[in-house]
């Protein structure tokens, strides 16, 4: 396909989103029209994205040259395909979920405007061909998602939004500094090449500087991926409407951070230079700390969505841990977890959202006995939790397996410690998800069933996406050979 289609898939959702406030559908009366207006471009865009993935355009599309080196360019390579595919796969589902969910929140026009725009911006990150383009969309992503976080516009959400903003922009600013160092130490256009664009001579000229640059990028982009100690914003933004927390803060936004780290590690600085340096060690250490820390915090947290948010903090660092192994196998593990964690966590968040909408309950201890009333929701939650724990037959195991074997094959002691961190986190995962499941199905003795009388599963708009995701978890859990092969081709730099 022509590379110009890349521009189409990025711009179509952005334009659709921008048109919404102009068309100004009435909140209640024009709901059907609005949904149609949103759904058609979203689905069309998803189809286009998959068409692009299957028929990769050859060559880059350069939109504009900023300076003689820097340009805004797009490209569809393997890693782009993975992230774009994930985003494109999940967006229609979560839009569908949002159609029903957001009725409870109001301000639908504004919501869908930004929500749809975010789709385009996220694809922009995925399809960037160089660091500057990625940085552009990375910043835009922050800006279009802030209104979504602040959707309720009450004090709590505004504070959360500001926190999110400060962390994200700060992270981007830190990363920018790193990017500048990158620019000085290799190909100044900073185009992504598998293996990195930093030249050996530039590295040897000032190894410390390059490593500092990598770490700046790592932590800067790591802010969005909620690396400890920059994770604070992620639990805070769980005040946002659930489709936002689910899709953006479990998939698009945070994965954008992880994606950026993958890009920076494997396509800009390059493992060849970083492998075995203190920079790798520091990055890996922080990933490990985050893995354990996030899980511990999730275990302590009693608020349902915040607990899931902390779980995201932990799981994102699985991806980053995979990236910091800096081997193709580690890369593969990171990619697997990026995909599969997206599917798992969005399911869990959807379930939390369903509970919130149907019963208004936000805390874990309030969920007792709901499993019998909201059967589909809790079925999905159970499947999601088990997948997250890493039960074989569900997709979570595959990624854990890939990460674990990658770390084992890396052979360093540090990687060994990393495996332990993964496993400890898995135990803790069990600790923060399973009690919810168990108590939802098996309430304590003397539990008063009458308080759950009114609870029931939400409508089809919300249940169908969740069930589709469950099916996906099972499918990828039981038959992930082809997709793993494809991911390995990406990880080994073959596509």
């Amino acid at each position: 396909m022509s590379p110009y289609w890349i521009l189409v898939v990025i711009l179509l959702p952005m334009i659709t989103g921008a048109l919404l406030p102009i068309l100004d559908f009435k909140e209640e009366e024009d709901r059907g029209k609005r949904q149609l207006f949103v759904a058609i471009p979203v689905i069309l865009n998803t189809i286009l994205v998959y068409a692009l993935i299957l028929h990769k355009p050859v060559g880059d599309l350069t939109l504009v040259h900023l300076t003689k080196d820097l340009s805004i360019s797009f490209r569809m390579d393997g890693l782009s395909a993975v992230f774009a595919g994930l985003v494109a796969g999940l967006w229609p589902l979560s839009t569908c979920y949002a159609f029903e969910y957001i009725r409870h929140e109001g301000k639908e026009n504004k919501f869908f405007a930004f929500y749809t725009m975010t789709y385009g911006v996220t694809l922009g990150i995925a399809l960037s061909a160089n660091v500057v383009t990625m940085y552009l969309f990375y910043e835009l992503l922050t800006l279009v998602t802030v209104p979504l976080v602040m959707h309720a516009m009450d004090k709590r959400s505004i504070r959360a939004g500001l926190k999110y903003l400060a962390y994200s922009i700060g992270g981007a600013a830190i990363a920018f500094t790193g990017v500048m160092i990158l620019m000085n130490s290799g190909d100044p256009s900073m185009t992504f090449y598998y293996g990195g664009s930093v030249t050996e001579s530039a590295y040897l000229a000032n190894p410390t500087l390059v490593q500092v640059g990598y770490l700046l990028c790592f932590f800067g982009f790591g802010v969005k991926a909620a690396i400890f100690p920059f994770h604070e914003w992620l639990p805070a933004v769980s005040v946002a409407p659930t489709p936002v927390t689910a899709l953006l803060h479990a998939v698009a936004v945070v994965k954008a951070g992880a994606f950026a780290i993958l890009r920076i590690t494997f396509y800009s600085f390059g493992p060849g230079i970083l492998l075995g340096t203190p920079a790798q060690g520091i990055a890996m250490a922080f990933a490990m700390i985050t893995i354990v820390f996030g899980s511990v915090m999730a275990l302590k947290e009693q608020h349902f969505k915040r607990r899931l948010a902390y779980s995201t903090v932990s799981n994102l660092s699985y991806i980053i841990f995979g990236a910091t192994l800096m081997t193709p196998y580690g890369f593969l593990g990171a990619l697997c977890h990026m995909l599969f964690h997206g599917i798992m966590k969005i399911t869990l968040f959807f379930c939390a959202g369903s509970v919130l909408v149907q019963t208004g309950r936000e805390y874990v201890h309030e969920l007792e006995g709901l499993g019998k009333k909201m059967k589909l929701t809790f079925f999905a939650f159970t499947v999601g939790s088990l997948a997250l724990v890493g039960l074989p037959l569900l997709c979570g195991f595959i990624s854990k397996w890939k990460l674990g074997t990658a770390a084992a094959s890396a052979g360093t002691t540090f990687a060994f410690v990393g495996i332990l961190a993964l496993l400890i986190s898995a135990v803790l995962t069990c600790g923060y998800t399973m009690p919810i499941v168990i108590r939802a199905y098996l309430p304590r003795e003397g539990f008063d069933e009458s308080q759950n009388e009114t609870a029931k599963d939400p409508g089809l708009y919300m249940t169908v996406p969740v069930l589709i995701l469950c099916a996906a978890m099972l499918y990828f859990g039981m038959h992930s050979g082809p997709i793993c092969d494809a991911l390995f081709a990406v990880a080994a730099g073959l596509i």
Binding site: G390, I438, G446, F447, H479
Partner: protein, 492 residues
């Protein structure tokens, strides 16, 4: 196509049956439910026995990814394990029909009871690490609701304790899995081990640490010190038939894991003479002694039995840690014997609770008159556990001691048997006192006021059947011995 396709059936039938019991409204009716479950248990067991009779075979079901196939096989170890599972489940299942009358949520109970049956058969039939790990995790998740069953506060806490210990253990297993995949030639169980020494070279220390962690991990399920604490908490709070299978079989799943990893993947040669072996021996012996001591001090009957399990399963661990053929055979024999014995003991305790509501050992004076059949079975099983010839326990302990003495492991070769002996004495102390009190409560005890409270056939028949096996296997262990020997030879 060989007999492999059969393997799926005993795994899947109970699971489907369990789901049917739970979801079909018609099984809310007691009679229909019991009939259905009975048939299903028998059918599954029949398939298991059929597999036993057929020659060894394998089945490749599907692959998660190319390197992760789900494989089944029916080698000797598998056959022994699944037979054990089937027998225990049959006995406990029949016992349940009566026992569960005084519990609630029957459908839920049978759901998990049946599902765990299927999963355990699957665990037994696993032919590679992935399959085993998968069923191992599932087993934890499916048996946990059994512990939780009553919904009482201590049951909930016990269940969570069980869950976290087990998951931790399983994940240590996963750790081993990662490394074996990297340093081995395959993940399929192969007698004698699969390690690729060329890859291992230079990484021995790390791999030894991993092996130790794996042993600890699977040892969790087997109640090995230091991760034994869940066992005395979790087993007693479950309904008695569930306790019976938990103690009798589920702990053996940990043993199966250790056997599979050490003897079929790592290979005994790799750890022989290393610190891992000594640490393992030490931990096993510590558990043996400590479990007995705790049991001796414990006053609640089911808890006492649980501590006894801690102690006895570590006999098996000790046998495995010695790393020679005689001890290995002794260990596997003890797996079988202890399962039978502990099943009987727990079921008997369940019968007592069911009929009299007594849970404390001090309340059991004269119970021999009230429930003679139950208590006779209890007495025989106790004797077996102590290791009095000609009952089952003696044979296994003999081989354990012999294996240990001829192993040549410094210090432990004589220290092990000494501890085993001491533990046997303690076992006598905590079990036989009950028996003695039950039948000979003393002259001042008003024996005449007691009435007969023998439970129904659903309870007594399984007890008698199992007790019969205890005696029979004690008298004629030859068949079993030769079967174990046949595959024990292959791993060394």
């Amino acid at each position: 196509m060989n007999a492999g396709f059969l393997f799926v059936l005993p795994v899947i039938i109970p699971v489907i049956a369990g789901l049917l019991v739970y979801f079909r409204p018609e099984y809310r009716e007691e009679a229909k439910r019991v009939a259905f479950v009975r048939i299903m248990l028998c059918v599954t067991a029949a398939f298991v026995f059929l597999i036993d009779l057929l020659p060894e075979a394998g089945l490749h079901l599907f692959s998660l990814t190319p390197e992760l196939p789900v494989l089944f096989q029916s080698d000797g170890m598998a056959k022994i394990f699944i037979t054990l599972v089937a027998v225990m489940w049959l006995a406990s299942g029949f016992f349940s029909f009566e026992y569960m009358k005084h519990e609630e949520n029957h459908q839920r109970y049978y759901l998990f009871f049946l599902c765990s049956f299927g999963v355990l058969v699957g665990l037994g039939l696993s032919a590679n690490y992935l399959t085993m790990y998968m069923f191992y995790e599932l087993m934890t998740l499916l048996t946990m609701p059994l512990v939780l069953h009553s919904g009482k506060k201590e049951a909930v806490q016990a269940a969570f304790k069980y869950l976290f210990y087990s998951v931790f253990g399983a994940l240590m297993g996963l750790l081993g899995f990662f490394f074996i995949y990297n340093y081995g030639t395959t993940i399929t169980f192969t007698a004698g081990g699969v390690l690729d020494m060329a890859k291992v070279a230079g990484h021995e220390n790390k791999l030894l640490a991993v092996v130790f962690l794996v042993v600890l991990g699977f040892g969790t399920k087997a109640g090995m010190f230091p991760l034994h604490a869940w066992l005395p908490t979790a087993h007693p709070v479950a309904p008695a038939p569930a306790s019976a299978v938990l103690s009798g079989v589920i702990t053996k799943a940990g043993i199966l894991g250790v056997v599979r990893v050490i003897y079929y993947l790592i290979g005994p040669d790799f750890i022989r003479g290393t610190w891992v072996q000594y640490a393992w021996l030490g931990l096993a012996l510590a558990t043996v002694f400590m479990g007995s001591m705790m049991a001796y001090k414990e006053k609640v009957l089911k808890k006492r039995l649980a501590y006894s399990t801690v102690s006895q399963v570590s006999y098996v661990m000790f046998g495995l840690a010695v790393l020679n053929q005689a001890a290995f055979i002794g260990a596997i024999l003890h797996v079988v014997f202890h399962s039978f014995i502990k099943d009987v003991l727990f079921l008997a305790a369940g019968a007592i609770i069911y009929k009299t509501g007594r849970t404390n050992v001090t309340e059991l004076k004269g119970i021999g008159k009230e429930m003679p059949i139950v208590m006779w079975c209890f007495a025989l099983a106790s004797l077996g556990l102590v290791g009095i010839p000609p009952l089952a326990g003696f044979v296994s302990k003999w081989y354990l001691a012999v294996g240990s003495l001829e192993s040549g492991v410094p210090f432990f070769n004589w220290f092990g048997p000494v501890i085993l002996l001491a533990s046997a004495l303690l076992t006598a102390g905590y079990l036989l006192t009950i028996v003695i009190d039950a039948f000979f409560p003393g002259s001042d005890f008003p024996m005449d006021t007691l009435t007969k409270k023998e439970p129904s056939y659903y309870m007594t028949v399984p007890l008698i059947a199992l007790t019969f096996f205890i005696v029979w296997l004690g008298l004629f262990p030859g068949g079993l011995y030769s079967m174990i020997e046949s595959f024990a030879a292959s791993v060394f």
